[in-house]
Symmetry: D2
Subunit: 167 residues, 4 copies
């Protein structure tokens, strides 16, 4: 199971703490982490995961693996800039957003477009015509985020296997 953790490369210490706990809990549940590979929320989540023996994948925007944070096991060097955001979320069975700025917003958009379950911790709210879009599953704590993500990712994985066996 691979869960994406998305958020800004510069973040508050509260957000870093949240992301680190998310990383720890995901690793304890046996989930690998995929992220954008840089600092801030991405780094905190990877650090948490490595503290608990998890596997971490970083999908880097630049041309050089040395830009990965030190807790990335598998740096994927895309050289595709922010276009790599699509790959971060599509590779996951569920996505956890911690805070986030416009880059994170593009990842949220891609996840919702691809119908990948998206759990939000203190992140963007979206509305159209005065009505809120309720596609982001809002939670209040790292453990709630991980519980939701793992259970939805499991369901998605089962669904994918079922779809395949029908082909």
């Amino acid at each position: 199971m691979i869960i994406a953790v998305i958020g800004d490369s510069s973040c508050s210490s509260e957000e870093a703490k949240l992301a680190e706990t998310v990383g720890e809990l995901l690793a304890q549940r046996g989930a690998s982490i995929i992220c954008g590979g840089l600092g801030g929320v991405m780094e905190a989540a990877c650090r948490g995961a490595k503290a608990k023996g998890g596997l971490t994948v970083g999908i880097l925007p630049g041309q050089d693996s040395s830009t990965a944070n030190p807790w990335v096991d598998i740096p994927v060097v895309t050289g595709m800039g922010e276009a790599r955001n699509a790959a971060v979320v599509r590779s996951a069975q569920a996505v956890i957003a911690v805070g986030g700025s416009y880059g994170t917003l593009s990842e949220i958009a891609y996840a919702l477009k691809s119908k990948i379950p998206l759990i939000g911790l203190n992140t963007w709210s979206l509305s159209r015509d005065g009505r809120e879009d309720h596609s982001i599953i809002r939670v209040q704590s790292a453990s709630e985020a991980v519980d939701k993500a793992v259970s939805l990712a499991k369901r998605r994985k089962d669904y994918e296997i079922a779809s395949q066996s029908l082909c």
Copy 2:
């Protein structure tokens, strides 16, 4: 001057009318149009532009130029799927969003990240921590959208030229 028009490939007839008028007015102001090259809002904007002799560029997600709507002069065949959304907005000096679903939301996010002026007609609203993000310049009509886009794009173009001459 190149202005991006973004919006959904399936849209209401009101949105199509809005997009078509945006296309017409942009062409009358001498601006070229760039878009995702497909149907709905993209097609309506291109049709409007061609009716007034404008130039239209379509940045296609797929591998085949035949997926472009019939009013695209220059189909750019990326084969990069939704990752092409980054290229649509970055190539423009200003962006006009008409309605839009999650694909459009990713383009809005990329535009705001790249600090490209973004004018919204009946499109997404964004908020964080209960506070609305006012980066999207909201307007009520096609003509207001085009006025804003052209004047901000002109300022941006001047700024770019000034930056270059300083290098």
Copy 3:
């Protein structure tokens, strides 16, 4: 009709002269040019095309339209680095390679994979198991290159239109 001209961003004066003549002749035949938008062969081809009133499109690797050479009418800002090479050739009905280094080689590979006619002027030769690959159509002059490209592009365009009308 859109023809890609590919080649290195630093090139010999002979290659620049060849590319400029290719650009002139394409414009005189009514073909638009698409290229990587930078210097060297790309710049020479665009300069030639503009001297004869042609239209030029540059698919840029970087994040800034100011990197386009001064003869690009439509700079497409991909921010996707060398991954944009796929889009340069796929957007064309035929490709003319003038000299070229490894970046050009990747474009040759993409063109051959997509079965887009590829005309070579003093460019790479490819072989496997001691046998030369004859997919690159080798010519000796700019005018021969343009003749071949235009006639093959026309045939390809007819084929595409026929395929569409069958759908």
Copy 4:
């Protein structure tokens, strides 16, 4: 250490055997494998690696992780088509090409452009102006390929660490 194994999605049984042995030997040397994630050479290399307890990463062109071969541990879903080829080789410290068609040729081009060591087993030969390009390091066996790749990747990794510590 991450080594890319590149080659065609349909290959001869000799090439599949070669690729499988490459995968086995890389895993025994402690190297992770990155590839395009599909069948043929990619699948054989992953199968070999998993037989010896290695870790495998597949950078998929499509939008669905179910297209990965069954021996991919980490499917990265780019949705970027053949543009993902740039990411496959850039993420590696060395590349081993086994046979290959035009897609592989684009990966060879990207590797040489990025100065990533490239070892070739029965793959493309390149020449310009009648002179062969000797950048591809040609070997005759899977074990020779792996020896070269591991030793060059190690040197490259040391170089990267040295470059970083100078910053």
